[in-house]
Symmetry: C2
Subunit: 338 residues, 2 copies
């Protein structure tokens, strides 16, 4: 089943069921006005939404044309956004670039940060920030959970996965070093994220959803050029069940919580071989190519995003059809710089 | 005006207007069913709630008896919970205990961590955790904001303060060192917090609310004994306007966001003189007395909370009346230890 939220009807938007081909949609006020409300009562709501989904796919319901540009993030705001760093290749590169070792515990104890969930930007909204802050994208896979009890095991946690989405976890790289040096983690360096127009239930992903991982390439374009297509199912050290269980060790999770994978990153040889131009799978953030440059050339060369730059993030099924729709964020530094 | 949320009517509870003396209350479903919903539409809702408040205080409306034990946290869950560390005395003590200096920037750039807001515990709920995690309370003052735009100044931010509450920001001290060493800040070490039964508008605090600070002693009892009564208006390096502006530097804040002060802490001489028994104002967390012990005696002596221990947090006006009601959390380690 595919779901989206239109930017209308209030702060939490309007829930629509979307056809598999992303062509049509249908609001369902009699079932649930918003996706956030649907999460609260999923067991009751889900079967009703599925009926609409089937009818939309079969043509029994015509629905309206689905416009991704009219969408908000599926949850425009929610209770919890916790982001992992499950692709340790990315962490290894960052550490190698500053001659630091990756602690052994990083391979058994997930690295996660507590994000802010009070306002996400729309999938096609601009990223409003200053160039001096070092604007970067991070393409990731995320899940939305149901209620998760305190102390849930990874297996129990995996069963609480209700929806899958993509995200652009915007990062302000030049604010990170000073902020992390203070010891309390990310804060100003992690502004509002943008999620994919469409959230899908795991069954929708078929064989690509295995072991609580999404085994498909995550496709990133920067200013129209292919920049990355690493497989999100490869080199993911912790699956989503493990990430959720990490959060649940000392507290419960409320239905509607979003858990992220961290920047998707596949192990590759070196700067030359990792780039798309030379047959590599590329990168899901600018920081990663900059670490290769630092390791091999002494300093980063690729700039962070500038005013007008556009990042596009999407994922396609085996038949080449877009699963989640397209995140497309253009950087707007003018609103703040002036 | 005083507001509270009863543990009934759904996940977000039921909003009640509470009389100034905390004796009576009145549900207001025709105005707003929940405090969370009221925050979304504050400009419209607030004057209507105030009418009920005045009528309740004057006796024009009788209302029902108000039972603090029936309350949930005023916002049982919300969109944002960001906690500062504005009483630098606490930070200075912690650093001195490990022979580290406080960086100069700490006096100009607030230290804040991103908390989880998807599920707070009720004011009288148990703290369910393991003794091995090092269970501690942190008594703090917090504010609930309206919408705050990106880049708001401290003055603009101060105007967005809608409500004031107390909080017990439960901390798991033994999980902190390893977690902070990972570099991404607190996560498992900050389980669900408990807020005061009652949230009040700043005008309710009279002269005690000045310069976006609450100038009254925060009273903490541990197992029935007075443990701390530092003045929350003293030694607060950053006021709430500054803390909110810190959050808003790179992102907006949604109405209903909670911003915390950090553990209240007044500058005092030493271990002997700082304790209540010897005429000091005591402490708002066990970690603080433990830092004094470490500095003066080489190691901490006072234990963290054990099964059955009870912490009580409250604040009184000049006439000795409770402003926010009482937070009272008893530690329950048995549910998890077995």
């Amino acid at each position: 089943m595919k779901l989206a939220t239109l930017q209308q009807g209030g702060r939490d938007g309007t829930l629509v069921v979307v056809s598999r081909d992303l062509g049509r949609c249908r609001a369902v006020p009699a079932i649930a006005r918003t996706l956030l409300a649907a999460m609260d009562d999923w067991a009751t709501v889900e079967p009703q939404l599925r009926q609409v989904y089937e009818a939309l796919n079969s043509g029994a319901i015509e629905g309206e044309p689905f416009d991704q540009a009219a969408c908000h993030s599926p949850l425009p705001r929610t209770w919890q956004w916790a982001d992992g760093s499950a692709y340790l290749n990315h962490v290894e590169l960052v550490r190698r670039a500053r001659n630091a070792e990756v602690p052994e515990t990083f391979y058994t104890d997930p690295l996660m940060y507590q994000g802010g969930s009070d306002g996400f930007i729309a999938p096609r909204a601009p990223i409003v920030a200053k160039e001096a802050w070092g604007i970067d994208m991070e393409a990731e896979v995320t899940v939305v959970t149901g209620d998760v009890p305190l102390g849930a095991t990874p297996k129990e946690a995996a069963k609480a996965i209700r929806l899958v989405m993509l995200v652009n976890d915007v990062s302000l790289r030049h604010l990170i070093p000073a902020e992390l040096a203070k010891g309390f983690g990310f804060f100003q360096s992690k502004p509002a994220s943008a999620f994919s127009p469409v959230a899908v239930t795991p069954d929708e992903l078929g064989d690509a959803w295995q072991d609580s991982k999404l085994h498909l390439p995550l496709v990133v374009h920067l200013n129209g050029e292919l920049f990355g297509k690493p497989n999100a199912g490869v080199d993911m050290t912790f699956n989503f069940g493990q990430l959720i269980a990490h959060v649940a060790k000392t507290r419960t999770l409320c239905a509607g919580s979003i858990i992220g994978s961290g920047t998707v990153s596949n192990k590759q040889g070196n700067l030359w071989g990792s780039s798309i131009a030379n047959g590599g799978v590329g990168y899901c953030c600018l920081a990663e190519v900059r670490t290769y440059e630092t390791i091999e050339q002494g300093k980063p060369v690729t700039p962070f995003m500038r005013h007008g730059d556009v990042v596009r993030i999407e994922m396609f099924d085996a038949q080449g059809a877009s699963i989640f729709g397209t995140i497309e964020n253009q950087v707007d530094t003018h609103s703040l710089d002036k």
